[in-house]
């Protein structure tokens, strides 16, 4: 049998295709097919029991009913805010891990970031609920210290959702940041300092440009995680707090309205895709470079 690498180009490509075939089939069956099915679902409308016609009604409903796009915009804005908050908190943490600590201390801090992931998201979120509810630990502590006159309800605010989302996503921001900051040569920072740079200008001119692929990668992953999160906003959010995933769940499971749910799902997909595209454009990164960082 001839050496595979020596054959003509098409032969090599065929061989590669055959080798990849199982994986491609798998991807197709698990990801593409259900998506096609959902797409078809989103473009039909129920007119009578068991009778459906092709229609744009589901998408029309989304735009006609302010409720739905309010939730949509709210989900996007809050995810964005939470992503930025995660970045602001994760950056010093990543900096400490990558640059300030050595050896075991650095590994220890990394593990501290990892610990929340040893329990399931449900347990984590319930933990927050126990901490923050009016009869919980934190309000009692605040009242005891005299910060507040009586225990206050810290749960069921938008800020609570942000805290929960940031907590859940921190690791996914820290990891790409650490890897991109670790690859930053310390002598570049010293050189910039030596040439008259201040902390801020070094951060802006040297550190951030160097870490840009890591920052973008972290932000994309975290933003998508937040956009697609269901448990945290649902459990920590107040009675007025709607998350778009919750709306999709409601349409599919509670309302039996798969058509509407599918349409909402595609709108969410479009949102996350366009935000990622926008993020890449704004930060001047290429998708491939960024994904290698994650």
């Amino acid at each position: 049998m001839p050496d595979a690498t020596s054959g003509p180009a098409w032969e090599r490509r065929l061989l590669l295709g055959l080798l990849l075939a199982p994986a491609l089939l798998w991807l197709f069956a698990l990801i593409v097919l259900p998506q096609i099915d959902l797409a078809l679902l989103s473009f039909r409308e129920r007119v009578a029991p068991r009778e459906y016609v092709a229609s744009l009604a589901q998408y029309r409903t989304f735009f006609a009913e302010p409720l739905y796009w309010h939730v949509f915009v709210r989900t996007a804005v809050m995810s964005l805010a939470a992503t930025l908050a995660t970045l602001l908190i994760a950056f010093p943490v990543a900096w400490t891990i990558a640059k300030l600590l050595r050896g075991r201390l650095s590994a220890l801090l990394f593990v501290v970031c990892l610990i929340p992931f040893w329990v399931s998201e449900t347990v984590r979120t319930l933990g927050w609920m126990i901490l923050l509810r009016e009869s919980g630990v934190l309000p009692a502590l605040l009242a005891h210290l005299g910060v507040t006159a009586a225990p206050v309800e810290l749960l069921y605010h938008d800020a609570t959702i942000l805290v929960g989302l940031v907590y859940t996503s921190l690791l996914f921001m820290v990891v790409p940041l650490v890897s991109s900051l670790e690859s930053l040569d310390n002598s570049l920072i010293e050189a910039a300092y030596d040439l008259g740079g201040s902390g801020w200008s070094i951060l802006r001119e040297i550190v951030i440009p160097h870490a840009a692929p890591g920052i973008t990668a972290g932000c994309i992953v975290v933003f998508m995680l937040m956009l697609g999160n269901y448990l945290t906003p649902t459990l920590l959010g107040g009675k007025s707090s709607q998350w778009f995933t919750e709306q999709i769940y409601t349409q599919f499971i509670v309302r039996f309205n798969w058509e509407q749910g599918a349409a909402f799902g595609f709108l969410l997909l479009a949102l996350s895709t366009s935000m990622v595209w926008l993020g890449l454009k704004l930060s001047g990164q290429r998708f491939g470079d960024v994904m290698r960082r994650t």
């Binding site: 199982p22 089939l25 409720l67 509810r133 009016e134 309800e153 749960l155 069921y156 009675k239 039996f256």
Partner: protein
């Protein structure tokens, strides 16, 4: 080599079912929490050799899951009696009962009559009664005084009450406004108008609700910790709290508690009908039904089980319903289309500020 992997995968996918235990020896039940006590599963296994496997769920999920598989994946389901016909018309997820296999004499006749009325489609019966109870008000009587659903909205309870934002609360507030929503089931226009008005009431009431609870534990914890002074909730939950703290009571509101009746139903593509019938006949024996009643904290549809019921539960029932069933509303079957109207109202309440 490359051909083997997908074949293996296909085999794994197709053979998944065949590799499992013999279908006649297991019974997959989709039901509510506490509905199937472990003790009863053990008793049933000892008697029949069939292992019951329980998946916990609720009305909406039961329908959605069965819809997704076309009625496969479970051998027995336990939806509420009013949620059978609509779902069956729309999604064909159940199969009718062969009544010759059921010991109908074990059921309480009036509950059987209720399901016959609400769960019959094209002359075939799709549901048999299992457990019933009511939704009303759970009140911490030391800290609050409530007589009706509307009292949840009194200004002094701001931020201290809670409801589950699902259709029962719409029904409750409709009754509290003096209308009968069940009577308007046939008149979509009038029903819509009523729901709109209930929606406005609940939006105005929103500051009073600390949160909308999603599950029983969340509501129980809220009342137990004192964060809530009252909530619209199930009787069994109220009675469970009452056992911990006598100040907490379940009361039948002035407009009437709304009674639900959960049933047995056969999923359209269940694989162990014989097992399902055996289970139904087994659990409706008074002695077994009494164990179930104790686990749930509600009464079952088994004739004669009430005499065996926990005396404390009977006392609690008497305290909460001094007039018996005189002031209780039973859900009729929901016609298709109503839930869409209700859904929009519920979304609007949730989103309102």
């Amino acid at each position: 080599m490359q051909a083997v992997l997908p074949m293996l995968l296909a085999l794994a996918l197709l053979g998944g079912g065949a590799a499992r235990a013999d279908d006649s020896k297991r019974l997959r039940i989709i039901t509510w929490s506490d509905y199937v006590p472990a003790e009863v599963i053990a008793d049933f296994k000892k008697e029949t050799g069939i292992q019951a496997e329980v998946t916990l769920s609720n009305n909406e999920e039961i329908i959605s899951k069965l819809r997704a598989t076309g009625g496969a994946g479970f051998d027995l389901a336990q939806p509420s009696q009013d949620r059978i016909v609509g779902a069956q018309q729309e999604f064909r997820i159940y199969k009718p009962f062969d009544l010759s296999q059921v010991r109908l004499d074990q059921f309480m006749p009036d509950l059987l009559a209720t399901v016959r009325k609400n769960a019959t489609l094209d002359g075939k019966l799709y549901g048999l009664p299992y457990v019933w109870g009511a939704e009303g008000l759970v009140v911490n009587s030391k800290r609050a005084k409530l007589a009706d659903y509307g009292d949840l909205c009194r200004p002094e309870y701001k931020g201290k009450t809670s409801i589950r934002l699902r259709r029962p609360v719409l029904m409750a507030f409709a009754f509290a406004s003096g209308k009968d929503p069940f009577a308007l089931y046939g008149d979509i226009k009038a029903y819509s108008a009523l729901m709109e008005s209930v929606g406005r009431t609940l939006i105005a009431c929103k500051p009073n609700f600390r949160f909308f609870f999603d599950n029983k534990d969340q509501a129980l914890n809220g009342v137990r910790s004192g964060e809530l002074v009252a909530a619209m909730m199930w009787d069994s939950g109220g009675w469970a709290l009452n056992r911990e703290n006598p100040d907490i009571r379940f009361i039948n509101p002035k407009s009437g508690a709304i009674a639900w009746l959960d049933t047995f139903a056969l999923p359209a593509r269940g694989k162990n009908d014989a097992g399902a019938y055996a289970w139904i006949n087994f659990t409706m024996r008074p002695a077994i039904a009494a164990k179930i009643a104790k686990s749930i904290g509600n009464f079952t549809a088994s004739k004669g089980a009430d005499e065996l019921a926990d005396p404390r539960l009977k006392a609690q029932f008497k305290e909460s319903f001094p007039d018996g069933f005189r002031n209780v509303r039973w859900y009729p079957a929901i016609p298709a289309g109503l839930e869409e109207i209700e859904g929009k109202i519920l979304d609007r309440i949730k989103a309102a500020d």
